[in-house]
């Protein structure tokens, strides 16, 4: 391998690292994604140049493979509805795992058909067979698991026009079975080292791994599916790293293990946010099969640091105070927050005052005036509502019914009540002690929206935490 090839791979690995780092922060995330894509381009171009420009049929085939794959991927990415995003990520992930496993299989198949290619060196052979076996285990498991996860996210599958709901099934005896299957694959890999050309072992590994992916995902309910997809994503990275060991390629090892490790961390972060542990998600079958509305809804809680990151760079923030602000007496912290972001990010801060916010008209005006909030920043509901679509963050402090979209439906106790259109903001942050219903006893859909971040806790404690997080960022 010539020097420039290693340098190309080094550059691409560095781009992946910076890209992943930047993807974790709202303001730099799009740039991070572009860095990752650039890293991939560098790696692919380096590889193609290294292969040497022969003028055989292989160029037509490799080129067409690249073009076909790119077009399919692009078409799927552009066409998908925003609601279908997680399914698509799961499917792409399955393809990635399958690609790694196929590369491993292609290498081993060479040995099967041309036994002369089998390395004489015992160490080299052992490394190849172990890595190929692990790549197959993780890769095929990722493929079948991801496809099942995709259908679970959809909630069902259409067979001959008939809608079949994806089952959630996981008796307790399935858990020891999963472990036995993993041991089975390990034994087959061990055996295959002595007989690398034995296809029985090969098919055995592939078959067990594929079934393992299914039984791993089958017991897990729809609500936990994002955690599972994240875990499978981590696994597909590991599969790529193992494939790197087979073909002795550094960029595969680096990028694969980066994704494997950071994907695992992200999985833990997601578990923690849902107040679950990973073993709970994986081995305890519950969570229902994504039945809509009938189950008690849950919402991931955020912490002040996350909210501070969302607010970083926001151009317009609208604060929606409610009874909770009055109860916790946190108007001074709210004022401090507004001053902080106005000074630090040059943010335009306004307050949306609902006529019945709090327990009496003008309750909020009084409290905020006490904290020396300039009067011009307090805007009445009818005036502020058209501004929410241009608003980066709506910060709701202890308000519930006055922001409840259920009021628009014309049914229930809130029917017809004018509300603050906080749900039109790009991100909604709600400080509230729990998900419990408000004064009117109506569940609030706003809490469960994807763009909503819940800060569970006392208004004063949360605002203080938020202010500290902003000062530190």
């Amino acid at each position: 391998m010539e020097d420039w090839i290693s340098l190309g791979y080094l550059l691409s690995a560095a781009l992946f690292i910076f890209g992943l780092k930047k993807l974790g922060h709202p303001r730099t995330a799009p740039f991070g994604n572009q860095l990752g894509a650039l890293g991939m381009l560098v790696a692919v171009v380096t590889t193609i140049l290294q292969m040497g420009l022969g003028d055989g049929i292989e160029w037509v085939l490799i080129g067409s493979g690249l073009v076909i794959g790119s077009l399919i991927g692009l078409w799927m990415a552009v066409r998908v509805e925003m609601t279908g995003m997680p399914e698509l990520v799961a499917l792409f992930n399955g393809f990635g795992g399958a690609a790694s496993a196929l590369v491993a299989l292609s290498e081993i198949w060479r040995f099967v058909e041309q036994p002369a290619d089998v390395p004489d060196q015992q160490l080299e052979l052992t490394v190849i067979m172990v890595a190929a076996g692990l790549s197959a285990l993780v890769g095929w498991m990722t493929l079948t698991g991801s496809i099942l996860a995709m259908f679970k996210l959809k909630g069902g599958v259409s067979i001959f026009g008939k809608w079949v709901k994806t089952p959630t099934w996981g008796p307790v005896w399935l858990n020891p079975l999963k472990i036995m299957m993993i041991i089975g694959v390990a034994v087959l890999i061990y055996l295959s080292i002595d007989e690398p050309t034995n296809t029985d072992y090969l098919w055995g590994i592939i078959g067990i791994s594929a079934v393992l992916g299914i039984v791993l995902v089958l017991p897990i309910g729809g609500a936990d599916m994002p955690v599972v997809v994240s875990l499978l994503n981590s696994l597909s990275g590991i599969a790529a790293a193992f494939t790197g060991f087979i073909i002795g390629n550094s960029v595969l090892i680096v990028a694969g293990s980066l994704v494997g490790a950071s994907g695992l961390i992200l999985t833990f972060i997601m578990c923690k946010a849902m107040n679950r542990t990973l073993p709970d998600v994986l081995f305890k079958s519950f969570g229902g099969s994504g039945e809509k509305e009938s189950l008690t809804r849950t919402k991931v809680g955020s912490d002040p640091d996350e909210v501070a990151m969302m607010i970083d760079g926001a151009q317009k923030v609208i604060i929606v105070p409610g009874y909770g602000m009055a109860v916790s007496q946190c108007q001074h912290q709210v004022k401090e927050f507004a001053d902080l972001i106005a000074e630090k990010y040059d943010t335009d801060v306004k307050y949306a005052i609902h006529p019945v916010a709090g327990r009496m008209p003008g309750h909020m005006n009084v409290l905020l005036a006490e904290a020396n909030v300039p009067y011009e920043q307090l805007i009445e509901m009818d005036e502020i509502n058209p501004e929410f679509p241009d608003c980066d963050v709506a910060l709701i402090i202890g308000a519930n019914d006055t922001t409840n979209p259920a009021a628009r439906s014309g049914e229930g106790p809130l029917a017809g009540m004018p509300i603050i259109d906080a749900d039109a903001a790009r991100t909604v942050v709600i400080i509230k002690r729990s998900l419990s219903v408000g004064y009117a006893g109506v569940d609030n859909d706003l809490f469960y929206m994807d763009k909503t971040m819940m800060l569970f806790g006392d208004g004063k404690a949360m605002m203080t935490g938020l202010n500290n997080a902003i000062k530190e960022s």
Binding site: L20, G24, H25, P26, R27, A29, P30, N33, G36, G39, M40, A43, V44, G65, I68, G69, S70, G73, L74, A77, V80, M85, V89, F92, N93, F95, A99, L102, V103, L105, S106, E107, W109, R110, Q114, V127, S230, N233, S236, T243, G248, N249, S250, I253, V254, A255, G256, L258, V259, G260, I265, L266, I269, A273, D305, G313, A314, D390, D392, R426
Partner: protein
């Protein structure tokens, strides 16, 4: 990193070192991520795991150079297509998601 110049032992140890260091780096890279970014981050990382495209390309090249059989050639070709779907689709869909989340917010500066 030439497999022919290094002994297999050294080559393997070098690769295991890379593997270990990259794992540790990966653990440190992601610390706190706001919930809104969970899906895009997962999707972006997933696109990077499509790096197996490199393995697929190299495998396809060996196969078509006559160094291997038709079957491994076909396997490598399918791997190229699947990996490319993962890579291009993954980065494109992440970009779409991020544009939606970021809205008209100030850019990267």
């Amino acid at each position: 990193m030439n497999a022919e110049l290094l002994t297999p032992e050294l080559f393997l140890i070098g690769n295991i070192t890379l593997f270990m260091l990259a794992i540790f780096l990966g653990f440190e890279l992601i610390t706190k991520v706001p919930a809104t970014l969970h899906t895009p981050l997962m999707s972006g990382a997933n696109a990077i795991s499509g790096i197996s495209i490199i393995g697929a390309l190299l495998g396809a090249n060996v196969a078509y150079d006559g160094g291997a059989t038709a079957v491994s050639g076909i396997l490598a070709f399918v791997a190229v297509v699947l990996a490319m779907i993962n890579v291009v689709g993954g980065f494109a869909v992440t970009n779409r998601m991020l544009n939606m989340i970021a809205g008209k917010k100030r850019g990267g500066a």
